[in-house]
């Protein structure tokens, strides 16, 4: 797993973005950028050369699930690894995210250990 990879963290709460950024830094990922919803994230993804997307689900503007679908529908971004970190925990929602092509799903509140494990698992598959 490349520790220099460029990660976009999308959440409408700046505190959650700060927490995720700090946890990522602790895991050795320093190349992180933030966006506060899908509408701001999508053009950033299309312009920038991001290697990994971490997104919340429930956000104003464009929701995380719609961002995921937009990413999968975009020729250039279709294979970008996407992880959802969200408080949404209905079974139907998790199935929906899986069907939309999510690579990992973490429910809030979560631990640093969970974040680490899920990221490792995603990149084991991507790199392998």
């Amino acid at each position: 797993m490349n520790k220099e990879m460029k990660i976009l963290v999308v959440d409408d709460f700046s505190t959650m973005r700060r927490i995720i950024k700090n946890l990522l830094r602790d895991l050795g990922f320093n190349n992180t950028t933030e966006a506060d919803d899908g509408l701001t994230a999508l053009p950033m993804l299309q312009k920038g050369d991001f290697d990994f997307l971490i997104t919340d689900w429930n956000m104003p503007g464009m929701q995380g699930i719609d961002l995921l679908k937009a990413v999968r529908a975009d020729e250039k971004l279709a294979t970008l690894p996407v992880m959802m970190v969200t408080a949404e925990q209905k079974r139907e929602q998790i199935v929906e995210a899986a069907q939309a092509g999510v690579n990992g799903y973490i429910v809030k509140p979560f631990t640093a250990q969970t974040l680490k494990e899920k990221i490792e698992k995603i990149f084991e598959r991507v790199d392998g």
Binding site: N22, I94, I106, V107
Partner: protein
Amino acid sequence: MDETLITEDNIARVRDLLATMEQGDEAGAKEVLDELARVRETQLYIEMGKLTRELHDAIKSFGMDDQIAHLAEQDIPDARARLKYVIEMTDKAAHRTLGAVEESLPLCEGMEDRSNELHQEWRRFIHREMDLKEFKELSKRLDHFLTENTGDAGKLRQYLNDVLMAQDYQDLTSQIIKRVIGLVEQVEGNLVNLIRLSGTNLGIHPGKTEESEIKATGPVVPGVDKGNLVSGQDEVDDLLSSLGF
């Protein structure tokens, strides 16, 4: 309707009706029938009048209730402002804590790195792998390390105090939220009264109030949210692995 149909007057009227009919008195029979109908209509009007008055009084008393006007004009906007303040306070507390943590982490990392480095040199000294010149160098660095550590530990204590103080939001926001819960209870009471007065059935139709399964609803609140929920990361993982993840 408390209209009594069987009264002496009405029995007499029916007898009249029968008598006029048997006599073949068409006009007389019609007149008696009309009279009977009028009796019934009068009763109906009286009942309708009563109902109208009751409804009127109810609406009037409801409209004139100062408490409701106050709720709508003052208390609800007030509650909104208070809840906004709760968001501000929790946001500020979270950022203050995060700020202190972000300042503390590099201090810890620095202490860890310097300790590690010195520890290795110290081991060389214990194992007599160090000459005097190197040892003098080590002593200087040890002195520098201790000075630096004392300073950093002091800073760390300050940041930890900051984290401690940032938790005061919990007490304050709880008080505000409790007040808003009181207001919600008042509004609920008034709404129930209104519904009772308007005579609407309070039966809730479950099909209509259920939210769409896919719609994002935010954090699950224990004891409030129902439905097909997972109870934590383990269940999410199980579900995903059952889907081939």
